[in-house]
């Protein structure tokens, strides 16, 4: 698996979105996972709640620190990954697969254009030393 799969869109807050029609599956990137270390707890919004792009939608806690999660796109939460409750390590093991966080119904497709593709994201990471 590529470290930054080409079929995803990325944010500067190190989240990814996999867009399929009007649905976006959301997670955190391999870079975020590397920075956070072993993840111990994730708090996600309840299904049915509306999240706003670039606003806090939850928390992710690791042995090092607690960080805020920011939604890459606005919309209603359709699904959250229930497996993370008992197995937060899925995020460390497979951040783009079984470690996904939630699925959102994209309310404003225009927001997608402000996200980065894999190449742009890797270039952005290069600026972070």
């Amino acid at each position: 698996m590529a470290q930054y799969p080409g079929d995803l869109l990325y944010t500067k807050d190190h989240e990814w979105a996999r867009v399929d029609g009007d649905r976006a599956r959301i997670g955190v990137t391999a870079y975020a996972v590397e920075q956070l270390g072993d993840i111990t707890l994730v708090e996600l919004p309840p299904v049915g709640e509306d999240v706003q792009a670039q606003e806090r939608c939850g928390d992710i806690e690791s042995v090092k620190t607690v960080s805020e999660l920011f939604a890459p796109v606005s919309g209603e939460v359709l699904e959250v990954n229930q497996d993370l409750e008992d197995s937060p390590e899925l995020i460390n093991e497979a951040p783009y697969q079984t470690g996904w966080l939630m699925v959102v119904r994209v309310s404003d497709p225009d927001e997608l254009s402000s996200l980065m593709d894999a190449a742009a994201y890797e270039e952005y990471l290069g600026t972070l030393e």
Binding site: D38, T40, L41, V63, K64, T65, P88, E89
Partner: protein
Amino acid sequence: MPGSAVSGLCFSSPLIFELGAKERSGASLPAPEVPDVDPAALFGEMARVEPAPLPEVSEPEAVRHYVRLSQQNFAIDTGMYPLGSCTMKYNPKVNEWAARLPGFAALHPLAPDDAIQGALELMWRLERGLAEVCGMDRVSLHPAAGAQGELTGLMMIRAYHAAQGRHPNKVLIPDTAHGTNPASCALNGFKAVPFPVGEKGVVVPEQLAPFVDDDVAAIMITNPNTVGLFETHIADLAAMVHDKGGLVYGDGANLNALMGYARPGDLGIDVMQFNLHKTFTTPHGGGGPGCGPVGYKAMLHPFAPVPVVEREDDGTLRLETDRPQTVGKLRSFVGNFGMMVRAYTYLREMGADGLKRATELAVLNANYLRVCLGERWHVAYDRTCMHEVVISDRHLKDAHVTTMDVAKRMMDYGFHPPTVYFPLVVKGAMLIEPTETETKETLDELVRTLETISEEARTDPELVKSAPHLTSLRRLDETLAARKPVLRWTPDGAAPRQG
């Protein structure tokens, strides 16, 4: 090998529940002189049927168990404890002498005011002393610790706005502020609004401006901030918030860098908490009580928690509780009086000049470390710092040795690790606060230790990554402890319950 840690006999001790034998007892009680009662007759279903599974040990077993556990402690009395943002300075033993004087230690908390004039005089003088140090009009000694002091300060801010018919909702917190601030906001029903600091690690007016509006109840600023830098724009920042009717909360966590040199009250701060266990040498934690006084400007006095020590015209002191606008009582009685005695003892022991000298040495020691460590280590903000300095694991990246590994390895050399991965704004941060009570020899030993670890990371990274090696327990699985904590002991090897 740097550091003075050598080998020694280190006892492990089973849990006290696993010691002893059935019906062994350390107490020899006389035969009861009162008739037996039947608990079931008195308490019905609530009566216990099976005896509580208490430890059954002899007195020597109990004593050895706890003494052995105490020998596993690392404390400021055994070695340097450079835990940044915590001000782990030495606690003078004269404080303990004063707090144990029977006239203080044996006071009844409900004794009438006229019987405790000496204790009230000490509280009054401590309040005056702290007010003088921080440039505030009054100080409440009531809160039980720094975090409760923060809570109290924000409660007073909320009450102040409410008394004017205003209900602003936001509290602005720069990302270099002390870590507990957002929790204090949330407990008060305020919305914590974080904002980024400027490139030089301090808050600049341009960064704050977009966040200041009529809905701002307060800004919470830690000065010096948690990267150890003095907030040079503090007066302008305070004026911006004051212009919109907001107040300025100063987190006193880092007062040890200012004491005697700059007064938060003069910098535009309206209310702040003191952490007596940091700056004023009362003991840190360990289950003992804390004391987190709150200093404030006169306009906040109506809202202070009760009781308030007030002096009558004839000079007598009394505890005033009938105050209609007070935020109320936050803990029992006057607060943790024993801590007030220790802090007052420290103030009098040091005197004004002594406090200034302490500040000078605290800042000098941090800068000495900054310069010495800077030869090998990445210093996050390489300019004159206040009482603490941030280094990072950046130069160890290729060796795949992290801040966590370095912290663990420091234990092998007899040092408590510094604060790690905080402040969050510095990647792989180690926040080192030497305090004024460490000697140059100890600081040099710390520098040599960190240089050695840096060298080890290059030549033998596994040695560092598998540290600690000399502690009674080796590296603990912190991830498993966080993910699947076992919080209860269960008897007879029964499956431990999780969570």
